[in-house]
Each structure stands twice: as structure tokens, then as C-alpha cells.
């Protein structure tokens, strides 16, 4: 099954798109379950598992995985692939500590692969400690939106 190819202009114009921003606090239950999913024991001293740096920025910035799919006009089914993550931790993440989160699309461009066309979209999220305003982490997420038409 093929789907209409989104215009290249509609992809390019995503650059600079800012998410609403907001606050996120990692709950103890959430960290407990998340850590268990990784196969590790609970972390000491209220530390959150660093893998929280995937969903905390997305939800904290006031968006969702579903909206990120939709912005890139993802096709139904399994059309998204992760290209890369680049995560910087200025401080370890902690449970029950509110973080201010901002997010923006920093790159959106069409690429031609060997077999198919895809759009490469890059999102950047920044976390600050809500109390001190100190930077806590930055994450850059790059996804590939594969197209069924050339």
C-alpha cells in the first residue's frame, strides 16, 4: 500500500516549531517500573534511571510521541525508525523533582535512500531544574519518517 508523499516544503517548514513547554516530575512509581523494564534494580538516593531522558522531555515539553509522528506526517503502520539519540546530563535526573522543559524542531529535511524516500527530523529538548533554574539535561532525538512513495 502506498500513501501520498507529503510535500517537501511542508516538511522543511517544521524547522523552528516550538512545543508549548511545561513542567515534568518523575514519580516514584514511574521510575520504579521504568527501571524494572531495563532489567536493573531500583537506583539509590532518589535517582531516576537515565533512560527517563527519552519520555520526560517529550511529555514535559507538552507534546507526545503521537504528535511527533503526526507533525512529520508519519504513514500508518511501522514507518518510523530511530536514527540516533544524543543525550547530555549536566546533573543526574531525580524522582519527585520538577523540571522545566522546552522543545523545538531543529532540522527537517528530505533524503533519498537507496530504496525509498524518507524525511529526517531532529528534535531538541532542554531540561532545567525548576527550583534553581540550573540546566539538567539536553537531548537530541533524530527520527526517520520513511515514505512508501518516491
Amino acid at each position: 500500500m502506498t500513501n501520498p508523499l507529503p510535500s517537501e516544503a511542508s516538511i522543511n517548514k517544521l524547522v523552528g516549531h516550538k512545543f508549548p513547554g511545561g513542567s515534568y516530575t518523575i514519580a516514584h512509581w514511574e521510575n520504579f517500573l521504568l527501571t524494572e523494564c531495563t532489567g536493573a534494580e531500583p537506583l539509590p538516593d532518589n535517582l531516576a534511571h537515565p533512560v527517563a531522558l527519552f519520555h520526560v522531555p517529550i511529555l514535559g515539553a507538552g507534546t507526545s510521541i503521537a504528535e511527533m509522528f503526526s507533525l512529520g506526517q508519519a504513514e500508518p503502520g511501522a514507518s518510523i525508525r530511530i536514527e540516533s539519540y544524543d543525550w547530555e546530563f549536566y546533573k543526574p535526573l531525580q524522582e519527585e523533582r520538577p523540571y522545566d522543559v522546552s522543545g523545538v524542531i531543529t532540522s527537517a529535511e528530505r533524503r533519498q535512500g537507496r530504496k525509498r524516500t524518507f524525511d529526517r527530523i531532529q528534535f531538541q529538548f532542554d531540561l532545567h531544574d525548576e527550583e534553581s533554574d540550573d540546566p539538567v539535561a539536553r537531548t537530541i532525538v533524530t527520527w526517520l519518517y520513511r515514505r512508501s512513495t518516491q
Binding site: 523494564c37 531495563t38 537515565p50 519520555h55 539519540y85 544524543d86
Partner: protein
């Protein structure tokens, strides 16, 4: 033991990637992508009837390796490229090697190559790099 370039980080073993954990993870992430919880969708992709592990979960095995090596809170930076899918039932092992040691703001840091080996497929689904605070 003093850590030097060339040092191999003790590996971290995940004997079997579990579908149940992918489902819990999908709920926590609010992840609507069905390949993580619907075997039928994966089958339609021609990839067999095993769900596909979330990228962050694959990365987390390397986090666990680094934590067991240098303690929780040791990770300064992670860069990860996703080359192949990891499926439920896969046996994967996180591995790493120290490339360089440097000082920054009074801290001793190790720049490392890290990767995930699939034992049952003899391939490497994930690879990347990490900067780790050395707590020697």
C-alpha cells in the same frame, strides 16, 4: 585499578528481551507505536511474530553496564545509533571500551565506545559512545 585507554568495561547481560517489559514501557512512554506490543503488526512487516524492543530500552542496557562499572550518576553523555531492531526473546549483551581519558572542570572523564551485541544473531544492533565520570 586505574582505568586507561583500551580498558574493556565489564559487560552487562540481558539473557532474554521480554515482551511484557515492552508493554509496560509503552504505557509509561505513552508510545502508540504498535510494533512494541502487537505481534500481528510486526508479522505484516515481514519480520516474524516477535515484538520490537523500544530504542530507549536497548540503550538502557548500556546505561546499566556503565552504572555497574562506575556507579549511578556517572553518565555525562550518551550518543547512540540504532542499526538493527532488537526483538523479544533476543539475548543481548552491552559492551564497551575506554577510548580516552581526560580532565574537565576537575573531573576525570572516560570517553568510551559502547555497543549492544546480539548473541543469538551474532550482529550489533546498537552502537555509540559515552562520556563517563570516573569514580576510581
Amino acid at each position: 585499578m586505574k582505568i586507561e585507554p583500551g580498558y574493556s568495561i565489564p559487560p552487562w547481560d540481558m539473557p532474554s528481551v521480554l515482551a511484557e517489559r515492552m508493554r509496560t514501557m509503552a504505557a509509561i512512554l505513552r508510545d502508540p507505536y504498535p510494533v512494541h506490543w502487537d505481534r500481528g503488526v510486526v508479522e505484516k512487516m515481514g519480520l516474524g511474530r516477535r515484538t520490537i524492543n523500544q530504542g530507549p530500552l536497548g540503550l538502557s542496557y548500556m546505561v546499566n553496564m556503565l552504572h555497574e562499572w562506575m556507579g549511578c550518576g556517572c553518565i555525562k553523555r550518551l550518543r547512540m545509533t540504532f542499526l538493527l531492531y532488537v526483538f523479544e526473546g533476543d539475548h543481548v549483551v552491552a559492551r564497551g571500551r575506554v577510548n580516552a581519558i581526560r580532565e574537565e572542570n576537575g573531573e576525570r572523564l572516560a570517553d568510551c565506545d559502547i555497543w549492544l551485541d546480539r548473541i543469538n544473531g551474532e550482529d550489533r544492533p546498537l552502537e555509540g559512545s559515552a562520556t563517563v565520570l570516573l569514580n576510581e
